[in-house]
């Protein structure tokens, strides 16, 4: 497990500089315009892209076939991808948290509570995306999964955009709150299920 994660970090080293550059740019942008949502969205997107990038490297060099000839179990390969993506996302969320903290501190743009909730929601959305996307990546490989991913990201966005036009009665504050409190459990359950599914998919894979 450790070896696999070290390998992913090394493989991303080159990209890491570009990623950090992008992050710095959006961080600067968000502080200048006192708008954190752009940065937050970028971070979530980048974190979702990270496992995709490492898996693309793996595919290109046929690393998995080689890794499986070593004392590495199939499920460890799957778990390492999840761990890597989740840790990367948490780091991203912490960065968003700190930056928005700074914005709150120096301006009156947002309330502390509002900021915390926003950061957490973004973190949660990122995890949900990971839970959906990783099994697709393991099943179809990076090449095909790319298009499927577009759809996966596109449909929810469409739905959210359609909501105002649909005359749906918005749920009461209580229900939203309840959903908010339950969401960590829901996300955790979703991730567990997603890992289980990915392992089952990966165990059947032939190299």
């Amino acid at each position: 497990m450790k070896g696999l994660i070290i390998k992913d970090v090394f493989a991303l080293r080159q990209q890491g500089k570009i990623l950090l550059g992008l992050l710095a740019f959006y961080a600067f942008y968000s502080i200048m315009f006192e708008n954190i949502s752009m940065l937050a969205a970028m971070i979530v997107l980048l974190c979702v892209m990270l496992p995709l990038t490492t898996m693309a490297y793996d595919e290109k060099s046929k690393w998995e076939k080689y890794a499986l000839s070593m004392p590495i179990e199939r499920k460890t390969i799957v778990q390492s991808k999840y761990l890597f993506a989740i840790v990367a996302e948490l780091i991203g969320v912490v960065i968003v948290g700190i930056l928005s903290g700074l914005i709150v501190l120096f301006t009156d743009e947002m309330k502390i509570m509002e900021m915390l909730i926003m950061t957490l929601v973004i973190g949660g959305v990122g995890l949900v995306f990971l839970a959906i996307i990783l099994p697709i990546l393991f099943k179809f490989g990076v090449e095909k999964a790319r298009f499927i991913m577009l759809i996966v990201v596109f449909i929810p966005t469409m739905l959210v955009m359609m909501i105002p036009h649909l005359d749906i009665v918005p749920p009461s504050i209580q229900i939203v709150k309840l959903f908010g409190y339950l969401s960590p459990l829901i996300i955790l359950g979703l991730l567990m299920f997603s890992i289980k599914m990915s392992i089952a998919i990966y165990n059947r894979k032939e190299f």
């Binding site: 390998k7 090394f10 060099s61 179990e73």
Partner: protein
């Protein structure tokens, strides 16, 4: 003698290709060459040994242990080289050292760096800037640096120039000096295997045609040279494969079975393989 590898009735069905009842065994301390044309089933067999693909039948024992139930323990003591370098492009040898340290329990950094020096592999240069020979040497260095007892090599020498191949074969011969060590090597460069192998297993269209000691193969088989009329009078049971031209016939035969006065040349492994597949195609 104890076997390091035992394969029994191994089968795998693909669309248009079937690996059928492949059985062979490799005694400890020996080198076995796996030969056969492209697509004959060599790589499929090796993938099955490593559980990279799922078998449809049969049984594999490595170090006298089932390779499904003791997979991890077996792989700790296995050195594997596949037909290409499988490291992500932008890693360097130093990175690989760090990665492998957490992968193999018995990874030996000193052994690894001594191989890097011996192969003149720069440890800071990225793998993507290595030449093909260097990549292969790197894979071999990795395969040897965790004190393995058994090397499995899939086309490890193909695509390399004769000098590098010679160097690599020497490493293998060095490895085999320890009588606890064994090697299974697949290749379609027969001359390499002829140099180092003790056993030859020939796979043709998913079936094992023979799996024998190399020297007895060379003793047993011969190439009969005769005229068409002489050939027509022979018992066809004796002919394994033949090649006819307007001047006469060349046929692979088992020397002992052929009675009478004939001109029989010695047959190399390559001849034996070629005539076998020709015969099977009749």
């Amino acid at each position: 003698m104890e076997n390091v590898l035992e394969v029994k009735n191994l089968s795998k069905d693909y669309e248009g290709f079937h690996l059928q009842n492949v059985s062979f065994s490799l005694p400890k301390g020996c080198i076995m060459g796996l030969i056969g044309e492209n697509g004959a089933g060599k790589s499929t067999t090796i993938k099955l040994l490593l559980n990279l693909i799922h078998r449809d039948g049969g049984d594999i024992q490595i170090f006298s242990k089932c390779n499904l139930t003791h997979e991890k323990a077996i792989k700790e003591e296995l050195g594997v080289v596949l037909d290409e370098s499988n490291f992500p492009d932008n890693l360097c040898a130093r990175d690989i050292d760090l990665v492998m340290k957490s992968v193999y329990a018995k990874w030996d950094q000193n052994v690894f760096s001594s191989y890097l020096r011996r192969f003149a592999l720069p440890d800071r240069k990225r793998v993507k800037d290595y030449s093909k020979g260097m990549k292969m040497k790197l894979s071999i260095a990795v395969a040897l640096s965790h004190h393995p007892r058994f090397l499995i090599l899939d086309e490890a020498t193909s695509g390399l120039d004769p000098m590098v191949r010679e160097e690599i074969l020497d490493i293998f011969l060095e490895f085999i000096q320890d009588e606890e060590h064994s090697i299974l090597i697949s290749s379609h460069i027969i001359s390499d295997l002829e140099k180092i192998a003790d056993y030859i297993t020939f796979i043709h269209k998913g079936k094992v045609m023979f799996s024998e000691v190399k020297d007895s193969l060379l003793e047993d088989y011969g190439i009969l040279k005769c005229t068409h009329t002489e050939f027509d009078q022979l018992d066809k049971e004796l002919i394994i494969g033949c090649r006819k031209n307007q001047f006469g016939v060349e046929a692979l035969v088992r020397r002992k079975k052929l009675q009478g006065k004939f001109l029989i040349d010695s047959a190399g492994i390559e001849d034996i393989m070629l005539f076998h597949s020709r015969g099977a195609g009749r």
